[in-house]
């Protein structure tokens, strides 16, 4: 009898590297978006989740946040907020959408774009260092219980990093539940949890609730 391949939970450390790219207005922003490494696009869209403050901010990525609060161009901020890093398919596609959005806005502006009233936009890239959390699971119940305990960075590593940067299918949780536990229905439900839920803790809660429903269903 073959043994179930366990799910090994990894958390991650993150290290922010300041890049020599910056922008003072939307025109400079689009110029730099074309030049920066793709890791920087990941850092300012998906990885923003790693450091989201206590309450969710109005805009979901650093670009819209900067344009909204520092440049105070609400129209562009709203349009950039609508660029969905989690449904674009790849980070290159996210870059294209961001560039297209800013370029279109500039074309229709008619005047020089407003300059930042405060902070300039500084581009970063994030380096992730995976770290074993010491938790692993072989069954759905073990998986749910471990997920409730692990460091919150594991949520980022196995969902956002796995799916949107490393290209590991629909994320490690859905892949393991679908592949190893042979529960495609449940894998689908996990894969459809919206990363825009607000914070990693909220994403954890949504996973726990889906898993608990599935476990309760097994018992019924």
């Amino acid at each position: 009898m073959s043994e179930t391949q366990p799910f090994v939970f990894l958390g991650c450390l993150d290290l922010n590297e300041l890049l020599p790219h910056e922008a003072h207005d939307a025109r400079e922003l689009v110029e730099q978006l074309e030049k920066v490494p793709i890791e920087s696009i990941f850092c300012h869209t998906s990885a923003a989740l790693l450091h989201r403050p206590v309450l969710a901010e109005a805009y979901p990525n650093d670009f819209s946040l900067w344009v909204g609060t520092e440049v105070r161009d609400v129209r562009l901020a709203e349009r950039l907020a609508a660029v969905d890093a989690f449904h674009a398919g790849s980070m290159e596609r996210v870059r294209e959408e961001l560039i297209a959005t800013v370029s279109d806005h500039l074309q229709h502006l008619g005047t020089a774009p407003p300059r930042t009233q405060g902070k300039r936009f500084r581009f970063y890239q994030v380096h992730l260092v995976p770290v074993p959390t010491g938790h692993q699971a072989r069954t759905l119940i073990e998986f749910r219980d471990a997920l409730a305990e692990v460091d919150v960075s594991a949520l980022f590593y196995h969902t956002i990093e796995a799916r949107y940067r490393a290209g590991r299918g629909r994320g490690d949780f859905a892949e393991w539940v679908g592949g190893v536990l042979a529960r495609p229905d449940l894998a689908d439900r996990l894969a459809h949890i919206d990363p825009h839920a607000g914070s990693l803790e909220r994403i954890r809660d949504r996973h726990l609730s889906v898993l608990s429903d599935a476990i309760a269903g097994e018992g019924a």
Partner: protein, 399 residues
């Protein structure tokens, strides 16, 4: 835990976010056996206070961490002070001879100290020259705690080639970083929640300290902690208080170290405060951690109104004690706050007064912002997060 007791990693379970200590222990296992060496010019001061705890916990985690001090002659101390001021943007005369002294002292110390480690982290400008004779083994990082955005150009032009001998530089804020050809990482400073400045304090001890400082607790207290220097704008804070006073019966406490000879704003502050018994001007003792802990806990609202500032961890220390902060956008102040959630940023005396009045008129907002601020600090500005950043650096640079 009792004041002065030896702090262990486990003690942080009661204050750090859930799972943080276990996660740090796992990281420690991954990096066990790596050797990290910190080098600074002194074991005293604000930097050293935090670093001591970081070194102890890293060793607790199994990362072999040591801390060496460079030494220099009396004239080197003068050179180092001038260099520090010039890097901060205060015009200084820096001669070729002084620059040569800085480099020679680095090389002399490099001969004297044992600098073999997987990662050597050199703190600030005085020991920067240690890197010049470095060998091939180990990685070297320059940890600059200063704001270099307005460094004296002649000095920075001379130091930049030395800094570029390092494998990377670490700054506290992007706006403090100077252009360099090596990777630049950003690591925010952090507070130690178990230090004397931030530990829990009983109401009776707090009352005792406030009595000793002669600050009555009969009215809401507005507090600014900071030097009595013009760039910290204590007179501006008094003016904001006066605008508030027309509507709310409050006290203002200004607490800071005694000014150095020639310190410029204390006279003005004392003069402005002399006719108002509700203003307390407190000259802090040399080790003021207990007094500051009590003052911050007794405060209703914390104010930080400098015109130019370093990272200003006083914001995080006040937020940790559940206080809303009204601050300017100088230095690291806005980076520690979630604006409109944990406090407000302001640019004028009138703005500060308006926000103070707004809070005093909505006591529930004070509680809500204070609680949000404490949680924000718990997740982002505790020493446990700082440790994670240093461990990430160690892992990233040494593989």
């Amino acid at each position: 835990m009792a004041p002065g007791a030896l702090v262990k990693l486990d003690d942080y379970r009661q204050v750090a976010p859930r799972g943080t200590v276990d996660f740090l222990m796992r990281i420690g296992e991954r990096l066990r056996g790596k050797r990290l060496l910190h080098v600074s010019a002194s074991r005293y001061g604000a930097l050293a206070e935090g670093l001591g705890r970081v070194v102890a916990i890293l060793n607790d985690l199994g990362v072999e961490t040591t801390w060496e001090i460079t030494i220099g002659t009396a004239d080197f101390d003068q050179v180092s002070r001038a260099v520090t001021k010039a890097l901060a943007g205060t015009e200084q005369v820096i001669t070729e001879g002084m620059l040569a002294r800085l480099r020679e002292t680095g090389v002399d110390n490099a001969r004297r100290l044992r600098l073999d480690a997987d990662l050597v982290m050199v703190h600030d400008a005085a020991p920067v020259g240690l890197v010049e004779p470095r060998g091939e083994s180990g990685r070297w990082v320059w940890r600059c705690h200063q704001d270099l955005s307005s460094a004296q150009p002649q000095l920075w032009n001379a130091l930049r080639p030395v800094v570029q001998r390092y494998d990377a530089a670490v700054f506290s804020l992007a706006r403090f970083a100077a252009p360099l050809s090596i990777p630049r990482f950003i690591v925010y400073p952090a507070i130690d929640p178990l230090s004397e400045r931030n530990r829990e304090m009983s109401r009776s001890e707090q009352a005792q300290q406030m009595d000793r400082l002669r600050v009555p607790r009969d009215k809401p207290i507005l507090l600014q902690v900071g030097p009595f220097e013009r760039q910290h704008d204590p007179v501006g804070v008094i003016n904001a208080y006066r605008l508030v006073k027309r509507h709310h019966d409050v006290r203002l406490v200004l607490a800071g170290p005694p000014p150095a000879p020639g310190g410029d704003a204390l006279g003005d502050v004392q003069e402005a405060a002399s006719h108002d018994p509700d203003i307390s001007v407190i000259l802090l003792p040399p080790e003021p951690q207990t007094e500051l802990n009590a003052l911050e806990r007794a405060a209703t609202i914390a104010i930080q109104k400098p015109l130019k500032a370093d990272f200003t961890l006083e914001v995080a220390t006040a937020m940790w004690k559940g206080k809303p902060v009204i601050g300017t956008i100088a230095g690291g102040i806005p980076f520690q706050m979630v604006v409109n959630v944990t406090g407000y940023t302001v640019e004028t005396v009138e703005g500060a007064a308006f926000r103070i009045r707004q809070l005093l008129s909505n006591p529930e907002l004070i509680g809500r912002m204070g609680a949000a601020g404490r949680e924000h600090v718990r997740r982002n500005f505790l020493v446990t997060r700082h440790l994670s950043d240093y461990l990430a650096l160690l892992a990233h640079l040494t593989g």
